[in-house]
């Protein structure tokens, strides 16, 4: 469902993403881990078409993000690490706007917006301007925007940041349910516990390179041994890479 082919991004002399090859199957939750500045957010911004890669490409549900960006974007929902939204729209208007961008119109757009606002606990604030929302509320509204067109691929950059424990638990459940229904989730996170709990497969990126990828068991076999926690495995892999 998601395939990266030699995906590379350079900013001047700095290689932020280095020849990334990756394949993620339909209905998988893929946890993307790495230190600060390892290249997680840049990879995500390349996947969703915010940045143009220096070389290589990514295919989303078979659509090449470089050659057919609109088709690739149509099958993707995205939540950035910092959910900047249109402050002077209300929550409801924001969702209707996003729905329009993805081709949903009229009654369908309105009912879907209402449904998501209620499901994500924003129904009572639907008529308030976004500028009055807390960080967590904005995060939930951004997630509603990413889900509004029922995308088969969901790309989330640090989605748990700013969420209260209840909302974070709801999100984990929702992601599992979406994956069970066939949605592919690409999730970057600093929370190893979250990755351990919900990710089917895990990728570890270091200085722009994918240094390990697989299920938790596969990663344990690679480094750390059976029964090692994801934290142990993660730190051991990064320590080996540093040598």
């Amino acid at each position: 469902m998601i395939r990266c082919e030699r995906l590379t991004m350079r900013f001047g002399d700095v290689v932020a993403v280095d020849r990334l090859d990756l394949e993620i199957a339909e209905g998988t939750i893929f946890g993307f881990l790495g230190r600060n500045g390892a290249g997680k957010t840049t990879t995500i911004r390349l996947l969703v078409g915010l940045l143009v890669p220096t070389s290589g490409t990514a295919l989303l549900a078979g659509h090449d993000i470089r050659r057919t960006p609109e088709a690739a974007k149509a099958v993707t929902g995205y939540v950035p690490d910092r959910p900047y939204l249109y402050d002077r729209l209300t929550g409801y208007e924001h969702l209707e706007f996003v729905a329009g961008l993805y081709g949903l119109q009229g009654r369908e757009a309105r009912s879907r917006a209402r449904q998501l606002l209620d499901e994500l606990g924003l129904g009572a604030q639907a008529g308030d301007l976004v500028e009055t929302y807390s960080h967590g509320m904005k995060q939930r509204l951004a997630l509603a925007g990413a889900l509004i067109h029922r995308p088969p691929i969901l790309v989330l950059d640090e989605p748990m940041v700013g969420l209260d424990p209840e909302s974070a638990r709801d999100l984990r459940r929702r992601l599992r349910a979406l994956a069970a229904a066939g949605t592919t989730v690409f999730l970057s996170t600093h929370s190893l516990a979250v990755a351990e709990e919900i990710a089917d497969r895990i990728g570890i990126v270091d200085r722009g390179r994918l240094v390990a990828a697989g299920t938790l068991r596969e990663l344990q076999a690679y480094e750390g041994g059976p029964g090692a926690s994801l934290e142990d495995v993660f730190l051991a892999i990064l320590a080996r890479e540093a040598v």
Partner: protein, 561 residues
């Protein structure tokens, strides 16, 4: 930790900005230098001309200086109040400073200095060449230099101290964001009233053929001598005495000005120190305006744009709703209203209606230039509303960029947002003023397609420059409209307008002269020449529209959200 340490982050950011973008700094320096030189020469010429009026010359020069200083004082007061609201109560870095063990007195000193710099640089840009011209013209010498030094700093400190006090009072009474928005609109209305008042005083009456009668009438209309309680009067007294225009006690007035500035600074420090924790806490209360009462705007626009193809309808609705809910844009609208009113009034007030040869020539010239002037007004509006459109997407630009929307759709939505109202404005302005000039209707109709094409080019250029110089962090359209990119846009648009007016001037001239071009007896060749001139203008404007669109789409594609 000193107050200087607290302003260090701003200073480092400014220095780094200039280092990283030296070309931009050079453009600003050249433009400010050109403005200074232009204003200096213009004031010098005005003073030379005033000198030729005999004994009244010195009186008029003194009165002009006093009037300018009063206007600058009022501008400074409003600007300092708005700036102080932001610097003292809304700036994001205040959270860090409030959490740190920074004494409030030092915080006040640092923020006062920042407010002083941010609010007074515009005034200094105007004041410096003005005072230099006075010094050169009247041979001020060292005494005038000392007078300027003694008066200028306290002249700036007084309104800033008052602005800090006003801002603090306002924050205690109403939420800071609401107060700033309200003040921005009020200041725009104030500025508009000031300009309209000056315009209605008709300075051209000074040049009345009866000479002294015109000056006397003008002086009578400008009101009584300035109040002895105004700091601008004290500054004016210091400068006038230093120039030797009139005997006066410069030292006394300099002392009054300096002591007032010092006292007000200390009062503002004491008040801020006493109430700052409470005032800052109140400033954190955001506006919690319910959207339901505004929902009609979104609904109405979604219905109105329902027939537009693609996603441009939803982008257009979003742009317009965001515009309607941004009070900063409303203050811009006031300025646009002022610009239009003054433009139309000029055609009523200027000596265009006589039957003498001079009036006829001026009228003909005005008709030809009207094509360009009306579009220039449209450009002045576009720099405030069209140029900032890409930047106003702000950090939420990622929403559009990650959606399956072609940039051409986004471009089209923004283009029509600017093109339709500006076309109506330009055609309305040209039509109204042509009527006032008594221009043949055929001419107004014939030049309409050229005007529309020119507006399209101006809008396309505005979006292209706006995308190229986009600042996704710069949410204030007013500030964006005065940046280097906006100035370059204006200059490019003026060149385009000049080219199109030059290409079409022959056709307009032909249509103004009976029997050439439009009359039944006109030859096919003459008609062809008229059509070629107008067509040439449309082709030039159309070409610029297309090229600017390509350039702008590339710039939009480079904009990462």
């Amino acid at each position: 930790m000193t107050a200087g340490w607290l302003v260090r982050p701003r200073w480092l950011s400014l220095r780094r900005g200039l280092r990283n973008r030296p070309a931009q700094g050079a453009v600003v320096a050249v433009l400010v230098g050109a403005f200074w030189l232009g204003l200096f020469l213009a004031v010098l010429r005005l003073l030379d001309w005033v000198d030729g009026l005999g004994g009244l010359g010195a009186v008029l020069a003194e009165r002009m200086l006093a009037l300018v200083l009063v206007a600058l004082l009022l501008m400074l007061l409003v600007s300092a109040t708005i700036t102080a609201l932001g610097v003292f109560y809304l700036a994001e870095d205040l959270t860090i400073l409030r959490a740190a063990p920074v004494p409030l007195r030092r915080l006040h000193r640092a923020r006062f200095l920042e407010t002083l710099m941010a609010s007074s640089w515009m005034v200094l840009v105007v004041q410096a060449p003005l005072l230099a011209a006075y010094g050169v013209h009247f041979g001020g010498g060292l005494a005038f230099g000392l007078g300027v030094l003694a008066s200028i700093v306290p002249f700036l400190v007084v309104p800033v101290a008052l602005g800090v006090l006003l801002a603090t009072g306002l924050v205690l009474l109403v939420p800071a964001r609401g107060a700033r928005d309200g003040l921005a609109i009020a200041s725009a209305i104030g500025l508009a009233l000031l300009v309209v008042t000056v315009r209605l005083l008709a300075p051209e009456r000074v040049a009345h053929p009866s000479g002294l009668v015109g000056i006397a009438a003008y002086l009578a209309d400008t009101g009584a001598p300035a109040s002895p309680w105004l700091p601008s009067t004290w500054a004016s007294e210091v400068l006038v005495a230093a120039l030797g225009l009139r005997a006066g006690d410069a030292g006394f007035h300099a002392a009054v000005l300096a002591s007032t500035a010092l006292v007000l600074f200390l009062v503002s420090a004491t008040v801020v120190e006493a109430v700052y924790p409470l005032a800052w806490t109140r400033a954190q209360i955001g506006r919690s305006r319910g959207g339901d009462r505004d929902r009609w705007a979104w609904r109405a626009l979604r219905s109105l744009t329902a027939l537009l193809p693609g996603q441009r309808a939803v982008v257009l609705s979003k742009d317009l709703v965001v515009f309607l809910r941004d009070p900063a844009q409303w203050s811009q609208l006031v300025l646009v209203g002022l610009l239009v009113a003054v433009y139309v009034y000029n055609f009523v007030a200027l000596p265009l209606h006589g039957a003498d040869p001079v009036a006829r020539t001026v009228r003909k010239l005005a008709t030809v230039l009207n094509l360009g002037l009306a579009t220039f007004v449209a450009t002045a509006v576009a720099v405030r509303f069209v140029y900032p459109l890409p930047s106003l997407e702000g950090r939420a630009w990622w929403i559009v960029r990650t959606a399956p929307v072609a940039l051409a759709e986004v471009w089209a939505a923004k283009f029509w947002t600017g093109f339709l109202p500006l076309s109506v404005l330009t055609l309305g302005l040209a039509g109204t003023t042509n009527e006032l000039l008594g221009t043949p209707r055929l001419l107004s109709v014939a030049v309409s397609p050229v005007l529309v094409a020119l507006v399209a080019a101006v809008v396309s250029l505005g979006l292209a420059f706006g995308a190229h110089y986009a600042d996704l962090d710069g949410r204030d359209a007013g500030r964006l409209a005065t940046g280097p990119g906006a100035i370059l846009y204006m200059l490019t648009a003026v060149v385009l307008i000049a080219v199109v007016v030059t290409v079409t001037a022959g056709s307009v001239d032909a249509l103004l002269a009976p029997g050439r071009g439009d009359e039944p007896g006109a030859t096919l060749v003459a008609r062809g020449l008229v059509a070629a001139g107008l067509g040439g203008g449309i082709v030039v404007a159309g070409g610029v529209t297309v090229v600017a669109r390509r350039f702008g789409l590339r710039a939009l594609a480079r904009l990462a959200g």
